[in-house]
């Protein structure tokens, strides 16, 4: 199971041929986005995108060793996601749209009332204030396993809503700068931030709660409960600490520690089998692949009136990268996050060296697939792929609201892989030291430690180059190669059918 140029090329051609025409219309009335959006039926949605992250969970998912503490963490995460989803989506509270959780990071969208920037921005900012208060004053007292802290980011504007189109496993995807930038301004210093575009739409009383903390970025100040309640009353948001605390207690009763189960995985994890009753804690490599320059590409496409072409490009890239993960490397495609794809490799069980090498092969294969796509589609030479990889203890589950359980892949290596990807430039692969140290020295060679990225980075490493580097290992170990003569002469360091093993002579030079 590995990447092959002919297979990849055939897949890409098939995606292009079978995609059909893409339609993008403005979202001008309220609709059920879950059922409305498909890969070809897309909407241009004006809205505020909110990201809110409690990063303690990732740390706990990788560091806790006591079984009961681990169960308490799963319970806390499960209940946190349920309550946050209720806060976001309940008509009586924010009446927003929960896109998904990326681990413990919420992605929510406010697009109602349609084309009402002030109301949308107000709700987005108030959600940030409520979540801050909720985590500090409701969630932390209810779960004493850690001092949970939350950080967030909000941006507003037009983004294209589409979906992955897989029945029963539908994921909504939002392409455009507000969806991208809101995530980018989430800081690791536990602050709630918003962009200038959001700030500009806010009413004066909310603007007074913000101060500029960077170029075009504003930060929300903390609020006492009375001031927060006054604002919620004023803007018709029906949230209270007491209600949240009550719902959490109810959730605790319905999800006691006794029903929470987790185990390791000997075989490939089936995400559909996961729940609070069946979570997996595995030693795994997380891989994030992101199309560098895609937001800019979409912006240019909008300006040039070829957004449908750009969306076609997006779907082709998305599908091919997911197929590389699932089919070429027998991995798990965890989630699409806008123009980013998250994958996980956890087999062979607990074999760090094999998993690390497989993850690097997968990252290199993704780069090669990107090259194939660029050969097959016109006008995307500016697009490149950045890939981040890291390895370590990871929680994999499906938690949260019953009908909308989110895929959860949580742990420090997940965060680090995402960070490595974000710090890398196009055509680069960034790997953490847990991956680097587990690689054969020949495979380590193309990676150099980058102080700026704080991980090992290889530039222009693709499946072809990595394959040859691995062939070099066979020569260096004097194992030889397998040769199959013919019009096409196949030479491979791994045994292939009809090929003869061959150990070459030692060449000389005068």
């Amino acid at each position: 199971m590995s990447w092959n140029i002919n297979t990849s090329r055939a897949r890409v051609e098939e995606y292009i041929q079978n995609m059909g025409d893409i339609y993008i219309e403005p979202l001008d009335r309220e609709a059920n986005l879950d059922s409305l959006l498909t890969p070809t039926n897309c909407r241009d949605i004006y809205g505020a995108h909110v990201y809110a992250q409690v990063s303690n969970f990732a740390c706990l998912a990788s560091s806790l060793t006591d079984e009961d503490e681990y169960k308490r963490m799963i319970q806390a995460l499960h209940i946190y996601q349920r309550e946050v989803a209720r806060i976001v989506e309940s008509n009586a509270i924010f009446d927003g749209f929960r896109v998904h959780f990326q681990g413990s990071k919420l992605h929510a969208l406010f697009y109602r009332p349609i084309r009402n920037p002030r109301a949308i921005a107000t709700r987005a900012v108030l959600l940030q204030l409520v979540l801050k208060d909720f985590v500090t004053n409701v969630f932390n007292p209810a779960f004493s396993i850690d001092d949970f802290k939350i950080a967030g980011g909000t941006d507003i504007g037009n983004a294209i809503g589409t979906s992955n189109g897989i029945k029963g496993d539908r994921e909504l995807l939002f392409i455009g700068s507000p969806a991208n930038y809101a995530a980018k301004i989430v800081s690791d210093d536990w602050k709630m931030r918003l962009t200038e575009r959001v700030y500009a739409e806010l009413p004066a009383d909310l603007q007074n709660l913000c101060f500029e903390c960077g170029e075009g970025i504003y930060q929300l100040i903390g609020l006492h409960l009375i001031a927060l309640n006054d604002l919620l009353d004023k803007y018709g948001i029906g949230w209270s600490r007491e209600d949240s605390a009550s719902r959490i207690e109810s959730d605790k009763a319905s999800s006691p520690l006794s029903i929470i189960k987790f185990s390791s995985a000997d075989t490939l994890i089936r995400l559909d089998d996961l729940s609070i009753h069946n979570s997996k804690r595995v030693e795994a490599a997380s891989v994030f692949a992101d199309v560098s320059g895609f937001t800019r590409y979409i912006d240019h496409a909008e300006r040039d009136g070829r957004v449908t072409d750009a969306l076609k490009v997006f779907h082709v890239i998305r599908r091919e990268l997911a197929t590389v993960i699932k089919v070429d490397f027998d991995g798990i495609r965890i989630q699409y996050q806008g123009d980013r794809v998250q994958g996980l490799l956890h087999l062979p069980k607990d074999d760090q060296s094999s998993i690390a090498l497989k993850a690097v092969r997968m990252a290199a294969a993704m780069q090669s697939s990107m090259g194939i796509i660029k050969q097959s589609l016109w006008g995307i030479q500016e697009l490149t792929l950045a890939v981040g990889v890291d390895f370590g203890t990871t929680l994999v589950s499906k938690l949260g609201q019953h009908a909308y359980r989110d895929r959860i892949c949580l742990g420090e290596p997940v965060e680090m892989a995402a960070r490595n990807e974000e710090k890398c430039e196009g055509n680069q692969i960034g790997i953490g030291s847990a991956v680097y140290d587990a690689l054969p020295k020949q495979v380590q060679a193309p990676f150099t430690y980058s102080r700026s990225v704080q991980c090992y980075v290889a530039t222009d490493l693709d499946a072809y180059k990595l394959g040859l580097i691995e062939d070099a290992i066979a020569y260096d170990h004097q194992k030889g190669v397998y040769v199959q003569p013919g019009a096409i002469l196949k030479i491979n360091s791994e045994e292939v059918p009809n090929a003869q093993p061959f150990r070459p002579a030692r060449p000389y030079a005068p």
Binding site: S2, W3, N4, I5, N6, T7, A365, S368, Q442, A445, A463, Y464, K465, G467, L468, I469, E470, D471, A472, A474, Y475, D476, Q478, V481, V483, P485, G486, A487, I488, L489, K490, I491, N492, S493, E494, Q500, F502, P504, A505, R506, P507, Y508, A509, P510
Partner: protein, 262 residues
């Protein structure tokens, strides 16, 4: 015609090898072999009658990417007694010693001459030779990526021969140095003399036969050339006056005793 280590083959006989009975039969056999295993190569006859095998090796690596490598195989005048020579006739690879090219024309140094795997009577010899050539170019592709030659290789120049001879002597570098004056032909040791290895045994029953075997495989000329630097270092270090004298003798012998290797 030079072979892989730069030595010269026999003077070409008047009748081409492929015009003689055994050679003609071998050509028929080899043609069938090439058609089956290397169909992108075809036989051509040069203006001087030399037989060539010319075409492309389409090397597919494990991810399915194919690289076309144009090559030319030149058959020696006494083929199959002597091995053919392979040339890279494309411009993808720089023809430098670190890539194990003998010269700018792209002659491939597949092996040190005494390491040669060529067996004249082996009917699959040409196919095996071409596999060696293909793998040589596969290693060139790796070199393109890593800038390091993959796997073991002989050192360049005289050191490559010294490595071979050291291996023949069981990897005993000290022994090789003690025998260096014999190899370099600056010291004549009779069978009844004490062996230069210092064992106290007679040379005739100690290392005489091993030295003769090495001489046979390497060839006297290359043996002398290979050990010249070692003797040079030894005698100049120990006795500069004698060293200069010996070096002039060696130099004179080198110029007068150079004979084609057989």
């Amino acid at each position: 015609m030079p072979n892989h280590s730069g030595q010269r083959g026999l003077t070409r006989p008047k009748a081409q090898w492929y015009e003689r009975g055994g050679g003609a039969r071998r050509l028929v056999h080899d043609k069938a072999l090439i058609a089956a295993s290397y169909p992108n190569l075809s036989y051509q006859k040069a203006a001087d009658g030399q037989m060539l095998l010319v075409g492309e090796l389409n090397i597919e690596v494990n991810c399915g990417i194919i690289t076309k490598v144009p090559i030319r195989i030149e058959f020696s005048a006494d083929y199959p007694s002597s091995e053919p020579c392979a040339y890279d006739i494309g411009d993808q690879f720089e023809h430098i010693p670190d890539r194990h090219f003998f010269n700018a024309a792209g002659l491939c140094c597949l092996w040190l001459y005494p390491d040669s795997r060529w067996q004249p009577d082996d009917l699959s010899g040409l196919a095996n030779f071409l596999t060696e050539v293909a793998v040589f170019f596969h290693r060139q592709l790796i070199y393109d990526v890593t800038r390091v030659w993959p796997g073991p290789a002989r050192s360049h120049g005289a050191k490559g021969y010294q490595e071979f001879m050291c291996e023949m002597l069981g990897g005993d570098e000290k022994l090789m140095h003690s025998l260096a004056p014999v190899f370099a032909d600056v010291s004549t040791v009779g069978p009844q003399s004490p062996c230069p290895c210092g064992s106290g045994r007679l040379y005739g029953i100690c290392h005489h036969s091993k030295v003769r075997e090495i001489e046979r495989r390497v060839g006297k000329q290359f043996l002398v050339a290979s050990f010249l630097p070692i003797v040079d270092e030894m005698v100049v270090r120990d006795n500069p006056v004698l060293g200069r004298l010996l070096l002039s003798v060696i130099s004179l012998r080198m110029n007068t005793s150079a004979k084609p290797h057989d």
